[in-house]
Amino acid sequence: MTSIKTSHHPQLSDAVNRIEPSGIRRFFDLASSMDNIISLGVGEPDYSTPWNVREASIHSLERGVTSYTANAGLIELREAISRYLQKRFQVSYDPENEVVVTVGASEGIDLALRAILNPGDEVLIAEPCFVSYAPLVSLVGGIPVPIPTSIETDFEVDAAEVEARITNNTKALMLSFPNNPTGAVMGMEGLKKIAEVVIKHNLIVLSDEIYAELSYDAEHVSVPVLDGMWERTILISGFSKAFAMTGWRIGYVAAPEPYAKAMLKIHQYAMMCASTMAQYAALEAMTNGRDEMEEMVTNYRQRRNFFVKSLREIGLTCHTPGGAFYAFPSIKSTGLTSEEFAEKLLIDQRVAVVPGHVFGEGGEGHIRCSYAASMKQLEEAIERIDAFLKSL
C-alpha cells in the first residue's frame, strides 16, 4: 500500500539552522571507510565497564526494577553522589534538593545552559573545548564567546583574557578542567584569579568536571570549593570517563537549590528520568567501584608518560597534559594545517587523530591524540606517526 504524498518543505527553526554538524563527523566517515586503522581519535576509555558495575545492572533487570525513578534520580544514588563529592572534592550538596541525575554529562550541560540563558546572553567559553558547548549555547539563543588558550600557557585560562571579553550581556563562564582536548588542568592559583573576575562581574560558572578523577600529577581542584564560588557554580559531571561507562549515558549536575530546581524542571519534562538500569549501575560504581577505577587511572598515567615522551622524541612539541586521556601536540612545525595533517596521517599511515581546530579557538595547529588505547596500539601509532613525519 502506498500513501499519497503532499508537497512539504522542511520548516526548521532558525536556532537549529544556526548550528553546524560537528567537525568530527567528516573525519569519522573517512576513518570508518578504512581498514587496519589505529585509532587515537576516540573520546572514551578503552576499558569495558568494570564487571561488578555491569553485574549490578543485570541484577536490577533480573529483579524487574524497570520502572521510572524519581525525576531527580534514585535518592540512594543522589546520596552516594553527594557523599562522593564531599569526600573526594570537599564540596557539599544536599542530595534532596541540589543534585540531579542526568542522561550523561551532556544533558547536564544542556540543562544548565537552558536554565540560565535568555536570548542574547553571552557565554564565555574557554577553548579549545568539547565540541558541544558553543552549539548548545546557540540553540537557546545565547551567544558563545570564545576565550582562546594556548600551548604557551599550557592551555590554562588567563583571568585577564576572561575579563577582557566581559560585556553587559555576559552571563556565564564555561570551564572544563581536566580538559578535552588539551588534557590541561588548572590548579588553585589559576582558578582563584578567575574566581575573582567571576565574582567581580557576578557571573555564573558552568564547570564540566567529567575528567576530575583522571588527574595525574596533582589533586583535582573542583571549582565550587573556591571561596565565593559554590553559590554561583553549576557543577557538571558523570560516570563515563572515570568508570568507563560512556554507553550508559549517566551523569549528574550539582548546584545550589534554585539552579538545581530549574534544571530539574526541564529534565522532568524533557527526559522524565535517567535510565533506571544505568542508575543502578552508577550506584554500584559509586559504592564499590573505586579500586578498579584507580587502577585504570594508574594505567592512563603510565600511558600518558609513555605517549607524550614518545611524541617529543619523534619531534613534536607537546605540553604535559595533567589530566583526561588526551595529548594535544603541536604540528605547526610541519607547515600543515591540523585538518591536512590529520587527513594525510590517516590516509598515509592509517592513524586516526582529531584535528585540533574542531575544538575551537587555539586548537588549530594541534591534533588531539587519545591515549586511551592499549600499549601495543600506542607503540605502533608512534612508529607510524614517526614514519609519517619523516615522509613529509
Binding site: F28, A31, S32, V42, S48, F130, V131, N305, K309, M375
Partner: protein, 165 residues
C-alpha cells in the same frame, strides 16, 4: 621499597616482556634506572623469574593434565608443615604447593602427561610419605582464567567507534 619499584613490579607482573625503554617512559624515568631496578629486584629474589602464560590446549602435541590434590599431613615438632611441604614440592611434577587453612593442610598442584601418570605419582610418591595421612585428587577439566588472564575468546576487542568527540 620505592614507589617506582612497586609500580614497575605491577607493570611487569602483567606484561613481562615490555621493553626497558618503554617501561622507562611509562614510569617517567631513565632506561638505566629501570635496568638497575630490575637487576636489584632480581638479586633480592623479589623477581623470581619471567614466564609466559600459554594456552596448551591450542598446542596439539603437548596436552597436559593438571590435578589439584588436597593433602592431609601430620606436622612435625620443630619444623611444622615446612619439612613435609619441602619433600613434596621438590618433585619436579609439582607446579605449586600451598599451606591451607580448613579441612586439609597442603594444596598441591601437579602437572603430568596423562591421568595415569598423575595417579602413579600420587600412589607411589605422595601417599607413601610418612607424614601424609590422606590425599584427595581433583583433575582440572577446563581452564577459564589463570593468573588474571582469560583463556579462549577475547571479549575485550575494541568495540568503540573510530572517532568520537
Amino acid at each position: 621499597m620505592k614507589e617506582k619499584e612497586q609500580e614497575l613490579l605491577l607493570l611487569i607482573e602483567k606484561e613481562g616482556r615490555m621493553a626497558e625503554a618503554t617501561l622507562a617512559k611509562m614510569l617517567d624515568t631513565s632506561k638505566e634506572d629501570v635496568s638497575s631496578m630490575l637487576r636489584s629486584l632480581e638479586k633480592k629474589k623479589i623477581i623470581l623469574g619471567y614466564s609466559a602464560i600459554i594456552d596448551w590446549t591450542k598446542v596439539n602435541i603437548a596436552e597436559t593434565v593438571t590435578a589439584m590434590i588436597d593433602v592431609k599431613v601430620t606436622p612435625k615438632r620443630g619444623v611444622g608443615f615446612d619439612e613435609v611441604a619441602e619433600r613434596i614440592y621438590r618433585f619436579k611434577e609439582v607446579k605449586a604447593t600451598y599451606l591451607m587453612s580448613g579441612t586439609y593442610d597442603l594444596s598441591v598442584v601437579i602437572e603430568g602427561r596423562s591421568m595415569s601418570e598423575i595417579a602413579n605419582f600420587v600412589s607411589e610418591k605422595l601417599s607413601t610419605l610418612d607424614s601424609v595421612i590422606s590425599t584427595t585428587t581433583h583433575f582440572q577439566l577446563k581452564k577459564y582464567k589463570h593468573d588474571g588472564v582469560v583463556f579462549g575468546e577475547d571479549e575485550d576487542d575494541d568495540k568503540r567507534m573510530v572517532v568520537s568527540p
